[in-house]
Each structure stands twice: as structure tokens, then as C-alpha cells.
């Protein structure tokens, strides 16, 4: 045996060598934190600042205190957006059971099932811009497939995207399409992780069909459900692309949501109110904060275990 591989002297070990383990993480973190702080964290606070100003994005900004918020308070368009946001939140959640349903349907082993699964997953991969376009045509009052189908039942035609009563539902339905695909894949992977022994125990315990699903399978899919919930909520609150592509918030603003409204007042063709937009963003942020806090809390509990 030789000991050649060993450090022969320890006296001139540098400070770096001794403290390597302590310093390395910070070196590794530095670029990431820098980027993230500059582009994400700081802007959040800046937005708070801007929301207290009157600023057209071109000239000088003037500090106006909470005036933007006061105006929001009495802005009917804001309430429309808020109401639509809630609708989005609520209805978007349908993607979860729908995704579960499709996942259960596809959770079989027959030849070619993998191809089927990936084809079912398509809508998620496609840009929302394209999805919006496709659904705009689907809803088209003149030639849209929807109205043709309604025609078979002697109903319609419905001008989905032009009617303030239907438009939000119409866009949400379009959004549900890719979102359902997303939830489906989450559940498919979740189903993979279901413990077969528990299923068998359930079979011995006489749990069948729905009861098996409810009592044995669903509880095991909780992680998948949780993630599906989180991504769906976030997707719902971030909804922008579809509205922008399908209706531009119309007709007369009835399909606006907060994220679109703020874009509209701040940066769109006719919008020059950065401060007001920022105020809307802050409200949206506060709503989202509830969910972020919930998510972080669950993660915290998980970590502490």
C-alpha cells in the first residue's frame, strides 16, 4: 500500500480549500439570482411603484398616490375583468376532471396506445395563438363547425365570440382544450405511479368502479391533482394569448380579464396608462399571491417532513 494519493502537507492549504463547501453554492447561485432578481423580483416592486404614478410611458411620470386604485374601485371595466377572471378560475378547473377522465380512458395497454396518448397530448404543445385561431373559426357564426353542428339539432346559430353573454365561456372552452391535455398527461403519469398493491387490496376489499376510483385511486393521485390544480389556476390567471387572439377583449370589453385589461390600458393601440396598468397588475398579483402562498406552504410542509 502506498499513501501517495494523500495530501502530504496541510499547512499551505488555502483558505479556499478549507471553505470550499461553504462558498461554492453562492458562486453557483450568483448568475441565476442576478438574472432572476433583475428581471423578476425587482420589477415586481417597481410595478408597485409605477402603480402610484400617472405616466403615459413617454413623458414624465407624476406621483399621484393611490388615485389609480381609487379609480379602479369605480371602473366597471375592472369589475368585468375581475368577474371574468373568477369565471376563468372556476371553469378552468373543469380541465382537471376532464383530464382525469381521458387519462383513465387511455390508461390501458393495447397496441399503439402510446401513439394515441401522444396525439391526445397535441393541443398542449401547440401555441395558444394557433389554438385561438382554430377556435375562432370553430365558433364562426357563418361557417363555424359549432353552428353547423348546432344546426343539426335545429339550434343556433350562436355568435359565440360576438355575444357578451357567451364570449368568455367560448374562450374558456378553447383554453380548456390544451389545459385538459395537460392535466391528462399529469394524470397519466400519476396513474403510472399508482401502487398496484393498493388496487389489489381494494379489489379484495370489494371496492369496484367508482368506489375504487374515489376511495383508492384518487387519493393516490393527490400529487398529480395538486400540480394539475396549481398549473390550471396559474394558467387561468395568466390567460392572455387566447383573449388577445380571439376577441381582443371584445365585444365591448366583455371578455376582458385583468391580465388583458392591463395590457390594454398600458400598452395597446389606445392605451397609455402605465400607472393604471400597473395597479391592475398589482391586484392580479395579490390574487395570485393567495395561490402562491398556498403552494409554498404545501411545499414547505413537504420539505419539513
Amino acid at each position: 500500500m502506498t499513501t501517495a494519493a494523500l495530501p502530504q502537507s496541510k499547512t499551505h492549504r488555502s483558505w479556499w480549500h478549507r471553505n470550499q463547501i461553504r462558498i461554492t453554492p453562492w458562486l453557483f447561485l450568483a448568475p441565476g439570482i442576478l438574472f432572476f432578481a433583475v428581471y423578476v423580483i425587482l420589477p415586481i416592486f417597481q410595478s408597485f411603484g409605477i402603480s402610484l404614478q400617472d405616466w403615459d410611458g413617454l413623458g414624465e411620470a407624476t406621483y399621484i398616490g393611490t388615485q389609480n386604485y381609487e379609480e379602479l374601485w369605480s371602473d366597471p371595466a375592472f369589475y368585468t375583468s375581475l368577474k371574468n377572471n373568477l369565471l376563468w378560475l372556476l371553469l378552468y378547473l373543469l380541465a382537471i376532471p376532464a383530464g382525469l377522465f381521458i387519462a383513465l380512458f387511455l390508461n390501458q395497454t393495447v397496441t399503439g396506445i402510446r401513439l394515441y396518448k401522444s396525439l391526445f397530448f397535441f393541443p398542449f404543445v401547440i401555441s395558444q395563438v394557433v389554438v385561438g385561431l382554430v377556435f375562432t373559426w370553430f365558433y364562426d357564426p357563418a361557417f363555424g363547425l359549432l353552428n353547423i353542428m348546432l344546426g343539426w339539432f335545429g339550434a343556433g346559430p350562436i355568435n359565440v365570440l360576438g355575444d357578451p353573454n357567451y364570449v368568455t365561456y367560448g374562450i374558456i372552452a378553447a383554453g380548456l382544450w390544451p389545459q385538459t391535455a395537460y392535466c391528462m398527461i399529469l394524470y397519466l403519469t400519476g396513474l403510472n405511479a399508482v401502487n398496484p398493491e393498493l388496487i389489489e387490496a381494494g379489489r379484495l376489499d370489494n371496492a369496484k368502479g367508482w368506489r375504487m376510483l374515489w376511495h383508492v385511486v384518487l387519493p393516490q393521485l393527490k400529487p398529480a391533482t395538486f400540480i394539475a390544480f396549481v398549473v390550471t389556476i396559474i394558467g387561468a390567471l395568466r390567460s392572455f394569448d387566447l383573449i388577445s387572439v380571439m376577441t381582443q377583449g371584445g365585444p365591448f370589453g366583455s371578455s376582458r380579464v385583468l391580465s388583458f385589461y392591463m395590457f390594454e390600458v398600458a400598452l395597446s393601440e389606445y392605451g397609455f396608462r402605465m400607472g393604471y396598468g400597473a395597479a391592475i397588475a398589482v391586484v392580479l398579483f395579490l390574487i395570485m399571491l393567495l395561490f402562491i402562498a398556498y403552494f409554498l406552504y404545501s411545499m414547505y410542509r413537504e420539505e419539513r417532513r
Binding site: 410611458g57 413617454l58 357564426p141 365570440l161 371584445g250 365591448f252 389606445y270
Partner: protein, 398 residues
Amino acid sequence: AEHTAPLSGDMTIFSDMSNPAPRAVMESLVEEFGAMHPDLNIELTVIDREAYKTQIRNFLTANAPDVANWYAGNRMAPYVDAGLFLDVSDIWDDEMSANLSSTKEAMTMDGKQWGVPYTYYQWGVYYRKDLYDQYGLEEPQDWETFKSNCQTLLDNGIKCFTIGTKFLWTAGGWFDYLNMRTNGYDYHMQLTAGEIPWTDDGVKQTFANWRELIDMGAFIDNHTAYSWQEALPFMTNGDAAAYLMGNFAVAPLREAGLTDDQLDYYQFPAINPDVELAEDAPTDTFHVPAQAGNPEAGKAFLKFVTTPETQTRINAGDALGQLPVNSQSSVDDDKFLQQGFEVLSSNSPGGVAQFFDRDAPAEMAKVAMEGFQQFMVQPDQIDNILSRLDQAAQRIYK
């Protein structure tokens, strides 16, 4: 003479002339101007017309070109106020002021000129002459005929007007005409300038007139779902008989197969005989941004664009197909351009407006046009709409 002054260095131009024909015009302009100044290195960036509207503010503040497209009237106010456009009064010499007198006003703010126009075009009613002939209808001269024509068409299962209000501004055109015909040009200007409240009786009368058409069912169904282009097929298919639109609609209508025998134009008829006729004629412009790197070249380009020869060429039927702004230019002998020129030069005693979203401040335009769209769908909401507009106006014009 000035054109020959040697220019050198780099020059950038941002243009919103993104549709095929205007784009070709823009490219030829650059080429020609480049040929005049061989030492000048010109870079042209063409941006989608709709996108351009939201992006101009960014590039004006960040990486300003030397020349940029925009619109006349109130639409340029934010940039003028923010000092982002260069004062180009110096190129508006006497000769130019004289030649461009019809649009000089629209380029002037605070007594200075902030750019130059390069084209404008008439609005009016484009209609299916063959359908009118079929049902024995004439171009209407007054409101009553206008409505009775419409009734006849409706009785035959044809909508009087096509329109696509998805992008709002088409409804603005209707409001412009109805309001100018009901209350006159000056009233309209005061309204868009915030000097008359939206709850004024005059405005209500305008909407009452509009409502007559709506109640008749004069407009196609589901117009909120369409852009202006998507509304064209209703006219080409014969489901609707007319379109209140700018002259740019002619090209796609012709492309869709309508011949000049089938398609014709008339001036929007009088409603209130006591007011003088006034027209919408939106003017498109060129500006030199305040932060331009090569303003001299920019100004030279502006000058070049407004010369009578250039004007004649770029507005010709095979180019933009619109009206030249220089009175020394000749108008193409296209029948629509001739009629439009005729209307604007001799039958618009009340005045020439830019267009609703150029006359009113941007924010107000947005809110108001949204109101128009809502009104067209929910006419019963008019009181709500008007009080909302009034509230918005109080804030915006403050």
C-alpha cells in the same frame, strides 16, 4: 433643388405600410430616394400595420429611426406632447404650405408642423350597383331615401350594410358620419375635443338616428365577430348591399371579383339639412422622430415624399390608389378616386375630419368606440353607455 444636396451616412425608416401594395410603394420610395443620394445608406423596416400602432412609442423612445409613419390629427398628440416628434416647420415653406393647404391644419399643433402627409382617402358608401339596379334603387341624397332604400333591400332579404366591428373602429366611421350629418362638423370636433359632454342632446339625437337603422336590422348579424375584411364577403356574396368604408376597401372588393359595373360609390347623404356636409378623410403621414440620428436626411425624405411628382406617382391607381395631398398632383382616373376627389374638394363644405380615433384622444377613442359597438348590439343601453363615456371624458380631458 434641395433634393440634390448631398446626404450621407445611415438612415433608417420604420413604416407600417405592410400590405402588399403600400409596401411596394414604400420600397420604391426608398429606392428612388436612395438613387438621389447614393452616399446614403437607407434601411427600411416594415412593421405590421396593427402591431405598429402599439410599437411606435417604444421605438420613438428607444431606437428611433429617422423617418416614421403615423397619422395626422389628435393621434399624433401624445408624441408631440412628449417631444418625440421633431418640429419640421422649416420644411413647410410657402410653396409647400400652399400645395398642402388641405392637410396642413391636421399636421399643425401649437402652431408648428410635426410631419408631412403623404396620402389621404375619402370615406363613403361603397355599394352593389347591380343590386340597387335590380330593386330600382337610386343613390340616396337624403336620410329618408337612405332608409327607404334600406327597407326595400331588407324586404328582399338583403342586409343594407355589412360591417365588422371586432376591431371597433369601423363603428367609429358610422358615428363620424351620423354625428357630422346630425350635428355638423364643428359640433363633432368639439365633441372629440372634449368640449361637449357625451350626454348632450345632440349626441343623443345622433344615436337616435343610428338606432333607426339598427332597429330596422340594416346591419348584418354577428358583426362583432368580424374584422372589416371578414365582413367583405357579405357584400361580394350579395348578402349585403353596401359598406361604409374608406377607399382602401375597393381593392379587396375588386379582388373578390366585383367589377366596376357592380361596385359604385356615393357620398353619405344629408340627415339634418341645416348642417353642411363634412367628410372623413384620414391622412397618413411621415414624421421625423426627435431622437433621429440623421434628421437632415429625414427631413429631405419628407420633402421628397410631398413633391407633386412623387405624390402623383405613389397615389396612382396601380400604387396606393388614394388621393394625393399635393394640390399640384394629378388624381388617378380611377372612378372612385375621381369621385372621392370630387367630394372632398367641392362637396364637403363643412370640413374634413381625420377619423374618430384620430380626432379624439386615444383613450377616449377606445372607450367611445367600445360604446358604439355595444350600442350596435344593445341599443337599449344607450343611457348607460353615454354616461360612461361622459365619465371617461371627464377624466381624460381633465
